[in-house]
Symmetry: C2
Subunit: 208 residues, 2 copies
């Protein structure tokens, strides 16, 4: 059916494993592209411009905002983060299913501009799993983890704005769930109006 790309947003609590899901989805299927965010924060050791982020100056970022060059953006503490329009719309036009791994505020901005975007929220099977995963990473202080868990509590309020919810219990199942949600979107009637109109016309002309 439609091979116009489908735009999806994947959000979820910190530690729920959304990055792992997206990475696995990309490694297993060719039809996806993940948008790279732009940011004004400084690159960390090992980060490369155009791979983890597009690293911009504050002036560059604000000029992108002015020129409508971002489809969503936000400011956290002193740094901007946003999604460049050109990459996303270019990939969609190529027929790629573009995934944005962004937070709920960004998701809401996307939904307003792209009402057909598919919004997916990843949740853990139980609250305790979230804490265990964050501790298991071993990369952050207990204070930082407590902050992240508190934020998760606040983010629950946004789930009601999402179209789909996927439980990340077994990773392979969660990846498959996300995959079938996005692929089913290609068969939505609205995605295929042109084909349906021309087929209907043909059937009526030939057979009535």
């Amino acid at each position: 059916m439609s091979r116009k790309g489908v735009l999806s947003v994947i959000s979820g609590f910190s530690g729920v494993g959304k990055g792992t899901i997206v990475k696995k989805l990309l490694s297993e299927h060719d039809e996806y592209a993940v948008s790279i965010s732009a940011t004004t924060r400084a690159p960390r050791t090992g980060e490369t411009n155009g791979r983890e982020y597009f690293f911009l100056t504050k002036d560059q970022f604000e000029s992108m905002i002015k020129n409508n060059g971002l489809i969503e953006y936000a400011k956290y503490v002193d740094n901007y983060y946003g999604t460049p329009r050109e990459y996303v719309e270019g990939k969609l036009a190529e027929g790629k299913d573009v995934i944005l791994e962004i937070d709920a505020q960004g998701a809401m901005q996307i939904k307003r501009q792209y009402p057909d975007a598919v919004l997916i929220f990843i949740v853990p099977p139980a609250a305790e799993v979230l804490r265990k995963r964050l501790i298991g990473r071993g990369t952050e202080s207990m204070d930082k983890i407590t902050d992240r868990l508190k934020r998760a509590g606040e983010e629950t309020a946004y789930i009601e704005h999402y179209d789909y919810v996927v439980v990340n219990d077994m990773l392979d199942e969660a990846v498959m769930d996300v995959h079938i949600i996005i692929q089913s979107a290609h068969m939505r009637r609205k995605e295929n109006e042109d084909f349906i109109t021309s087929l209907s016309k043909e059937i009526k002309e030939k057979f009535i």
Copy 2:
């Protein structure tokens, strides 16, 4: 996620192969159940009550209508056709994904009563394919085929009420498309309100 059954309607032009798709879906996956229609028409040779149809008298059928025992029904020429409520709701409660293979008028009745039902319309890749398939069956006169094709032309008007459109070009792909549409419906947020509410409550209580 939700293992409450999903109710789906599969419609499509005569000859498009919807019966074959449904049969294959059932043979490949355990989660489906297909509703058996009730009718007042006489059984044909080889047809068994409770397999192809539930064969009822006119009085029995009309008493089912009165007792709200059918979730949709219609009268064609002199015979009633309808879908018994008890079977459908019983299977849904068991967690089976129930498929109704019914026409557009029935589909509209279903959508009014079950707004979450997933409506899928099967189309051929091109008009001519429809004619070839009907002729290829070799079971009907040219007059009957012409009638069916004319009806297809009229039925195009209903496609706009469906949620999804699947092209039956390669059978295996069409079966897979229908399968992922129905399975993705289990991840709809609305299908999982209870789980989300209790998880959100748990996260807030533990972490905020």
